[in-house]
């Protein structure tokens, strides 16, 4: 008998809000996180906007403990973890007695710290490289720092699968719970905004308006789209064994019903679309539901010219006739593309929708390609009764993950 996996709380820090409720409200109000960058200089780069968390005062959340050994990426994660632990009732005393794990999705962790460590060593000599920075230059540093800060002694894993990292991390955590290897894990993702990755994405032609520095259309699915707006954030959901959560008497926000992880072995459009379709079908199968039982889709579409299209056509292929009616949201229309954090941000946003039925619109969406199949993708926030939602995460490098989230079970669940 497969164990059931539930969500008992979440924590988030993003350019729009630093709480799940705040995030849901901001998204439903159609607020955009994308603004001119202040974190670093953008001279010579034809794109000047991003989803930057500003102001960012870690001490407001983390108190007086020494933050010098902890870089920006880890600070973001510490805050999200704090929120999720508080929301799920995992007090310090409880954590001292029982192991809580962490499954973290990230693309870079902190490429900025790695690069700064390298540059300082080059300029001042290896004897004067920074030991503290080196400790933060491993890609599992944020997960390690968070485990130390919050005393998380359970399974601690870092997973990288590009834009799909956050969903992959949630799937990984759910696997451990289903398999009886763990009872509680924080799962989600983190990514910081920094010059190194920003310049990299710009030169790779992935940012909206690049390389020509033209008008920026980071609007998911829109026919005018020309790339994504890079962003940062951290989001974690507390995943628990359903019986253990019930025994703890904690409220349940959602259930993880099923998930999948596949790869597009080539980036030819037909193959990529087929991979998305396969990811969706496998996740539905794993959840034991059919397309008609999915009430909404949270897509990972970000304004990427090709990837948004793969996602739309792939979902449509899997949903058949249901595709045209399926209500669709794409929160990157407001949050931007936060890479390793994005899937978890999608999931945290969806918790709000599961709770009050408000599905955020896709901000700025106006024009469509002729064969765009998802008529349920609209600009306005609307009310949709959502019992089960599908999240998809499609990466430009071929990673395709899907996850089905459902409302808390009615029978046998806590009040």
């Amino acid at each position: 008998m497969r164990r059931r996996v539930v969500v008992t709380g979440a924590g988030v820090i993003s350019p729009l809000a630093d709480s799940p409720a705040g995030l849901h409200a901001a998204l439903c109000a159609g607020r955009s996180a994308i603004k001119p960058i202040e974190l670093f200089a953008t001279e010579g780069i034809g794109c000047r906007q991003a989803g930057e968390i500003r102001p960012f005062e870690p001490r407001d959340y983390l108190g007086e403990r020494n933050l010098r050994p902890i870089d920006r990426t880890s600070r973001l994660l510490l805050i999200a973890a704090q929120g999720a632990l508080a929301a799920s009732g995992w007090t310090p005393e409880l954590r001292a007695r029982c192991e809580v794990g962490l499954a973290l999705g990230t693309t870079f962790c902190s490429v900025r710290t790695i690069a700064e460590f390298d540059r300082r060593g080059l300029q001042l000599g290896p004897a004067h490289a920074s030991p503290l920075d080196f400790a933060n230059s491993v890609i599992n540093a944020a997960a390690g720092q968070t485990a130390i800060w919050h005393n998380l002694r359970g399974v601690n894993s870092t997973i990288s699968a590009g834009e799909a990292s956050g969903i992959q991390a949630m799937a990984y955590a759910a696997d451990l719970i289903r398999g009886g290897r763990a009872e509680a894990l924080l799962a989600g993702g983190v990514e910081e905004l920094c010059f190194e990755s920003f310049l990299g994405y710009y030169r790779a032609g992935r940012l909206c308006g690049s390389p020509a520095g033209g008008e920026e259309f980071a609007i998911p699915f829109d026919a005018r789209r020309n790339g994504f707006a890079l962003a940062e954030g951290a989001a974690l959901l507390m995943l628990e064994d359903e019986e253990a959560a019930a025994a703890r008497g904690v409220a349940v926000a959602a259930e993880v019903l099923g998930y999948s992880s596949v790869f597009a072995a080539s980036l030819e459009e037909a193959e990529a679309i087929a991979a998305v379709a396969r990811a969706v079908r496998l996740a539905l199968e794993d959840a034991g539901v059919g397309p008609e039982e999915i009430d909404a889709l949270s897509a990972s579409a970000s304004g990427s010219v090709a990837v948004d299209r793969w996602e739309a056509l792939g979902v449509a292929a899997a949903f058949g006739s249901r595709a045209a009616e399926l209500p669709v949201t794409a929160v990157k229309s407001m949050l931007g593309e936060a890479m390793g954090a994005s899937g978890a941000l999608q999931a945290v946003a969806l918790l709000g929708t599961l709770d009050d039925g408000a599905l955020p619109g896709i901000r700025g969406l106006e024009s469509f390609e002729e064969d765009f199949p998802l008529s349920g993708a609209v600009a306005e926030t609307r009310h949709v009764s959502v019992r089960r939602a599908l999240l998809t995460a499609v990466g430009a490098d071929g990673h395709c993950c899907a996850l089905v989230l459902g409302e808390p079970a009615m029978a046998g669940g806590p009040a």
Binding site: I114, D118, A127, I139, N140, D175, G179, V262, A265, S266
Partner: protein
Amino acid sequence: MTGLGLVTPIGAGREAVWEGLLAGRSGFAPVESFDTRAFNVHLGAEVRDFRAEPFVRRLDPGALGRASQLAIAAARMALADAGLALSALVPERAGVVMGTTSGEPREVERFDDRFLAGELDRVGAEFISLYPCHMIAAHVARELGFAGPNAMFPTACAAGNYAIAHAVDVLRAGRADLMLAGGADAFSRITYTGFARLGAIAPERCQPFDRNRKGMIPGEGAAVLVLEPLAAAVARGARIYAELAGYGLSCDAHHMTAAHPEGDGAARAMQRALADAGASPEEVSYISAHGTGTPTNDRLETLAVKRVFGEAASRTPMSSIKSMIGHTMGAASAIEAAVCALAVAEDRIPPTMNLEEPEDDLDYVPNTARNTQVRLAMNNAYAFGGNNASVILRKCEV
């Protein structure tokens, strides 16, 4: 485990590497891939004379970072070793999970060189297509056409074990019929500078468990293991090296670069792995240690083994191949898992080289390989951030 692919500082390919390890071959030499004059240490375990071309056939080797090249080479070797032709596989049911510490650090180094030279205009599209660590597993899958589950576990020096553990879970859940699991890391000045700055690099010799040990020696390499369900392996008449009997993961939650002073996390990982395998410590025939050669790691690792094994500890041979190939970072525990598989398959265990005065009374298999029955082998790995992972392999009686 039905296939092994290895690229290491002492050679490439299962046979060359295994025979080299049993013979106590050393992979240490002065670092060549960058100038170490400004350092007070100069030794490394680099992979020499590696050519990607014979292995990277579908992708353009010039469009890949070094770790990806090493990974693809190991993957192709593993499939050949397993007697598997790509045409025999269902692409959607074949996945790739790899571990790494740094991904492709040379790409950041290139970025930084340009940054410091005031030449950022030379940073092109290649930074994003080469650098992110997920590209390693992506490149392997793209080279082979694998469309199943695909992810990287950048859990530093324990990464290989994390990848193997996840691959086992994916196969058990029926989400794939074949998984390539392993690890890869490329030699880099960033990594070298970091460990040198921590004072962790030995100036002359890597002597795990020796009283006079002075540190680790950074290395590079890749290992890929072919994992498939037992029934499928038997049905196709595959040679089975070993069975994945169990694994255990834990987190110290103590310090970023130093292990828990009582070996707490390491002990929990071992205990979990044993419980998962349904085995008692006495049944373990061989331990492949993390054994980096640093004063702290080796002492705490010995302590943790004694905690878990009790009286059986001094009777359980434990050796560190890092005494020969150095610390290959994310590849290390994958290479060591392959070694455990070979130990189980052939009843031979590699030595801990350079061991003159053991610091403690465990059987560290000093300096000479040994023929001994190996029913159960335990592979331990410990990483920065307190990530601990133990994987147990069992002789397959079929």
